[in-house]
């Protein structure tokens, strides 16, 4: 129940195994665990499956492609429709060296939520009649067709919050929550980087975005600014 506090991001992710499925919170620059991602780069783990909103949009997740650490990416943004410069991910993807599963954003978060909330799946209209429905079960109810989407979980989740307390409660700021609170529920090992570490009780109970029981490890890090220039 009490989160383990790590001194460095490297130590916090050191035992992430090769072949792990890693949920990565954040949306472009907001709420993105860039320190933990770079620690994973330095850690050298390979054959990883990354689940994230985006790769190659100015995010550092793309750095994991430099040494081919990713076997697969499950994301909503991965290949830009236009753009003069390709991300490292795009280059590897075109070379057939990394697998890509594109998932609609609302479906990705519902699959993660189902994975964390003990649900066997959800029915959505999103993706019906598109490539996203290929190979998936369609359920007809009262004359309406629905796509059955299955749960998604990770071995590890890497999160970013503004503040964390010593129990593991996390507080997000502004549009920082995005995928983080749901990903916190959907992995066996949850590691969060925070800008500030505080005593339990300093985060008002109404402002706890992720309750302590979801968080296994905390590390205080200077945030690394990232920005997508389009």
């Amino acid at each position: 129940m009490i989160a383990q506090i790590f001194d460095t991001s490297d130590a916090a992710v050191a035992d992430v195994a090769d072949g792990a499925t890693v949920l990565v919170g954040g949306f472009v620059s907001a709420g993105t665990p860039s320190n933990l991602i770079l620690a994973l780069k330095r850690g050298g783990q390979t054959d990883l499956t990354a689940v994230a909103n985006n790769i190659g949009l100015g995010d550092l997740l793309d750095e994991l492609c430099e040494d081919r650490q990713l076997a697969k990416v499950i994301a909503t943004f991965a290949i830009r429709a236009s753009g003069t410069r390709s991300s490292r991910f795009e280059v590897l993807y075109r070379a057939g060296e990394v697998e890509l599963e594109l998932v609609p954003q609302g479906t990705l978060i519902e699959r993660l939520r189902a994975g964390g909330a003990g649900l066997g799946g959800v029915l959505t209209r999103t993706g019906l009649g598109t490539m996203m429905a290929e190979g998936k079960q369609i359920i007809e109810l009262d004359g309406e067709r629905w796509l059955l989407e299955r749960p998604l979980r990770g071995d590890v989740a890497l999160l970013k919050a503004w503040r964390g307390d010593l129990h593991g409660n996390l507080q997000y700021r502004l549009a920082g929550p995005n995928f983080n609170p749901v990903m916190a529920t959907a992995a066996d090992l949850v590691i969060a980087e925070v800008e500030e570490l505080v005593e339990p009780g300093e985060i008002p109970p109404e402002l706890v975005g992720t309750p302590a029981i979801y968080v296994d490890r905390l590390v205080r890090c200077e945030p690394i600014p990232v920005r997508w220039e389009g």
């Binding site: 949306f27 620059s29 594109l102 609302g106 009649g129 502004l174």
Partner: protein, 224 residues
């Protein structure tokens, strides 16, 4: 389909301006990445439009000119300013809002729109991939879907077609198409030309449209 030089139509900014006019006062609107983000700059405060960004913001007014805060961005990664009464929420709640029919209108970019309102806007076969983002959820969830795009491709191919060749975003989802040449309504009887760009005649619009287009007797010019 014509082989003549594509006509000069509205600039991206004027397409965005025309799209902004399409929004009902007091409505809640999500803007897709690219051209649609420009729309935020063309609504009047008196229109009382509330913009939603699917990364978890309800109530931003437009692109911010002040310092960049990495935690305060729209879905395109651009810094935004908030209006009084804004709120934040996570991605699950954001897409509950979108998919649940609580967004009055979405303005998305397009690669192709078909005669029955199918939209293709996420996958470019020539690039061998794409990015779907929240487009599929917005297409099925927004009460009104406006597609803002160039009328033809750079090499002069119509984007408004009988049947989309590109992979679909969603079927029968588009309500209005706004391009550099025209405003076209999508209905049960197909496509109807509602307005034309200044100086562009209805037959010119039809010439550059790859699907049957109903042309009423009176087709007013857009007022911009």
């Amino acid at each position: 389909m014509s082989s003549s030089t594509p006509p000069t139509g509205l600039s991206r900014e004027l397409i965005a301006l025309r799209a902004a006019r399409e929004l009902e006062p007091g409505s809640v609107v999500n803007l897709g990445i690219g051209l649609p983000t420009l729309v935020a700059g063309f609504v009047k405060p008196s229109d009382d439009i509330l913009f939603q960004a699917e990364n978890g913001i309800l109530g931003y007014s437009g692109i911010s000119e002040s310092d960049f805060d990495s935690d305060l961005i729209n879905a395109g990664g651009q810094p935004v300013d908030l209006v009084p009464g804004a709120s934040f929420f996570d991605t699950a709640d954001s897409f509950a809002m979108i998919r649940g029919g609580h967004i009055d209108a979405a303005i998305l970019g397009g690669l192709q729109v078909s005669a029955r309102g199918d939209l293709a806007n996420w996958y470019v076969p020539a690039r061998g991939g794409g990015s779907v983002g929240g487009a599929m959820d917005l297409a099925v969830g927004a009460r009104k879907l406006i597609v803002a795009m160039a009328h033809v491709t750079r090499d002069g191919q119509p984007r408004i077609v009988e049947i989309c060749e590109y992979p679909l975003t969603a079927e029968r989802c588009v309500d209005v198409i706004i391009t550099d040449l025209a405003v076209i309504d999508v209905g049960l009887q197909g496509l109807t030309l509602r307005e034309r760009a200044p100086g562009v005649g209805p037959s010119k619009v039809a010439e550059w449209t790859g699907a049957a287009l109903l042309i009423p007797e009176e087709v007013p010019e857009m007022s911009l």
